[in-house]
Symmetry: C3
Subunit: 395 residues, 3 copies
């Protein structure tokens, strides 16, 4: 249970807020690169800042403020140039550093500059860094770098604070109930067989490592040498959940749009089986939240059930009324790590997991994953495990 | 004309407000029971409180707070159990008294309790009592108890304060104009014959009785022994309008959802004519407000015209600009009764119409009704009286 | 660049605000008259005031407050009478001066009056005057009076402050870029040829005259005797843009609905060519803003591109971050004229362009127009000039 002030501190993401400043020390997924191929200029909102993401005619990327310095029209109407973005209204042109480099009607170009942030592309995603220079390296996580897997990117906008997603990831026990018992209840109402065996948790554990926190679980009937318990899978600090194994893995980037919205950007990667083709490029899927007549989210598969739980806690959940119990010990650990790293940033140090050593970053950062969810698979019909979704492939 | 402070006092319904506390001394219709058969867990809002209404596997009902005590997820995602409602996230289970009776992952169940209110079923409706114990008896109004009538329940959410509905019910004269003149204007625009004879009111009168206020009217051409004048029909204090006669009657429950929303729950009951079947169960109809291109409510029948007038007065109507005249004397009486009963509650007494005497309540409370609207029927084509509606039967 | 206080002063339109009081010295277009033929009672909002516009059974017009003096129901539900508007609820009737002239249930009609403003019809439009009496003459602008032209009226509600429209009209240079470069970019994305030659501006100039401000431009390749430079075209103070020539002309009335909404009411008039019929009455078109998946306005023709720019500056644009340059000198002039006329009104004088001399007003006020946009037409395919629209004719 937190005080209202503590809850506010942990959930504010804007410039100058303690956690907002911590989050600004990391690169954040801002959009699938393919979205910019389809439409090269897009308004985006990230950490409470309104910005314009664009792809130049040369294929470079830029992320600059949302308003022209001239008369404040939205730069989302801008026209991509070889060297930047030209405003629709009077043609003032911005390079990716935010400098005005052309004022068509003026004798000379005034030395104006607007907000600009670096953008890098990796694994089909564009990442942005909104913190102070020098920017750290964009972490070359294995899933993003590996070229032997077929990847699917599903970004979903959620009307809730990012920390609710993280509370969930540090809480292994919910799996048994939210996906087991509730998931099976949803299936039953739809006339389908169970989607999960709600295996009982015997114990859970957590460990801080170089890039975040490993979580581990042991279920009834599992031997202690199961990778679920010996390895587990990590939360890459501060806001990425990594799951799977070397043949099938996923990342969930929980990107704070602002204090009350989060972009849950899920990347699934699967190694093609023998004979299956390797895709040229990641597929982008559109799978927005859907609601029933009473305003409840329809949640027919694991990820959507998690998103349902986060949104179901409210816009910014009221942690002054929560009652944390033994199953929440990972949440307490995460909050402590969050607080410690807020203080590190306030002391001018790099926080947990920031990468500046190219030797560690190349060719990629391998993440051990051992979570197979095997204890949840027993007795579930083939093809029904994890429920079902009906998303639309849009790019 | 009221002061702003007086208007605020009369229209606030939340916990701790004077009228809110008065309203909490009565049972309120919260949903048709059939809605819970279709979907057993529903988020509801009543008197400004967000709650979760549910039907257990055993067919009992509960009304508890909207947030799990664990980590504040909405209990609207809960799963009905034999003994209560199980939270979707981690399985904490609440009995209908709000006690946590199961915490699946914990060694022992902590002694936690959330808000809970009693629920009773009568006449196809669920009623809730949000006041202090001991709860009074749920009044066994004749329309709810009688089993020789076919009943239709139409709940409609209105974006306005409940008191606007009551102002209307204490104001007989509006009938002549809103349903007569305006109703006929609507019919004319639709190419239909008149829906009502706009009979002129000669006099109106009101009388406080054990359960509320009787209103009576005499129209031009009517003899003084007409039941419209000798009996009239009552407003059951504080928020029910009762109409009709012993063969065809209706109730309108104007349930305050919050200060700016009211659920107008209309129950129509008709005694089947010779040979007509008696229905097994009330029919629930869905008939939401519809709007034209200018934002005005489409009002083609009597009840909808009343709802139009209430909503047309604004979210909370500004009574500082009203000019009450002789036709509004019932409104002044109602406000006085409201104020007197606010004071009764503040003195610790039961307010008007609260039922605690089982002898009076069983087998039912008979309500005399004598209003036939006969003066409004003259010369109106058969089948056109009262306009027409096109609602959808949903259960 | 303005201070926040200066920007607030220039953009506030409500009663009692400095610019709001200035705007109240002019007649404003409030609706096409044909709209009232179709539906004779309409809620309208003008200069931040909620009002009811109606057409009596006799064909007269009225503009009165939005609430009945009795119990505050919306008068938008009123029923037109020969002498005014009858309230739907109890039949209180208002004449066009706002006096209550009938109270059906009362022995005598109380001497009540609500807000009322004069309305006049000209050229297919209804105009209202919200200022103090005596009202000036409704200006008989040539386009409104001439009966040898076919007229089209397109009112579009915009979610932005009116002053952004005026900034645009005093800024000739935007034409080259917004309609030339950006317009051609939009065409290219749609697979269409260019809609405009983006002719370079050599010089721009402005001149205050009896009714407002003339603006003039000279483009590369144009001789100094071009009417674009010798005549130009005017902004009729404070909020009308007049364009065209004697065979084809248009007005844009930028009517402040409130501080954050503007009705852009465009009237196009074309003299029929030999053999073409002359229409009986203006055509009213419905052409609301449309948005793409990223929330940007679809702008495929000149007027819509202007509207896009105004809305693209935000609800009330932040002029504290603007950087005005040489191309903005007309904007500075307009703001000075606006300020001067605010002061005139504060001294009790008539502001610029108010018409009280019938000799000047009859038969009409001829406006010289010399802007042909000829410098923008070179090399553009016939039929493609100015882009394309797909609006719906609704009356």
């Amino acid at each position: 249970m937190l005080t209202a002030a503590e809850n506010e501190l942990l959930t504010q993401t804007g410039p100058g807020t303690p956690v907002g400043e911590l989050l600004r020390r990391y690169w954040h997924a801002v959009a699938p690169a393919a979205d910019l191929t389809r439409e090269p200029v897009r308004p985006v909102r990230l950490l409470g800042e309104d910005l314009t993401l664009f792809r130049t005619e040369n294929g470079g990327f830029g992320l600059i403020g949302d308003r022209c310095a001239h008369r404040a029209i939205s730069l989302a109407y801008g026209i991509p140039q070889a060297n930047g973005l030209r405003c629709a209204y009077h043609g003032w042109t911005y390079d990716p550093d935010g400098h005005v480099v052309d004022m068509p009607f003026e004798a000379a170009c005034l030395p104006l500059k607007i907000k600009a942030y670096p953008v890098e592309q990796l694994g089909g995603l564009l990442f942005a860094y909104l913190g102070p220079p020098p920017a750290p390296l964009l972490p070359r996580w294995d899933l993003l770098v590996r070229d032997d897997m077929n990847k699917t990117i599903t970004p979903t906008l959620l009307p809730c604070n990012w920390l609710q997603c993280m509370d969930n990831s540090l809480d292994p026990a919910h799996f048994e109930h939210l996906h087991g018992v509730y998931g099976n209840y949803v299936m039953k109402k739809l006339g389908k067989p169970p989607m999960l065996h709600p295996g009982r948790h015997v114990k859970i554990d957590f460990e801080v490592f170089e890039y975040g926190i490993y979580k581990r679980r042991l279920l009834e009937g599992q031997a202690e040498d199961t990778p679920d318990w010996t390895v587990g899978h990590p939360i890459l600090f501060p806001n990425i959940l990594a799951q799977g194994n070397s043949d099938r893995m996923s990342f969930q980037f929980r990107v704070p749009v602002d204090d009350t919205h989060t972009m849950d950007c899920i990347v699934d990667a699967v190694r093609p089986k023998d004979g299956e083709p390797l895709w040229d490029t990641p597929v982008v899927r559109d799978d927005p939240l859907m609601y029933d007549e009473t305003g409840r989210i329809l949640a027919t598969y694991i990820n959507r059930q998690d998103e349902m739980a986060w949104v179901g806690q409210g816009s910014i959940t009221d942690r002054t009324i929560e009652h944390l119990v033994t199953s929440d010990k990972g949440i307490l650990l995460y909050r402590r790590v969050l607080q410690e790293n807020v203080e590190r940033v306030q002391r001018g140090e790099d926080p947990l997991g920031v990468v500046r050593d190219a030797a560690k970053n190349f060719p990629m950062i391998q993440i051990r994953r051992g979570s197979q969810y095997e204890g949840f698979r027993g007795g579930v019909p083939e093809g029904q495990w994890g429920g079902f979704q009906t998303a639309v492939v849009s790019a």
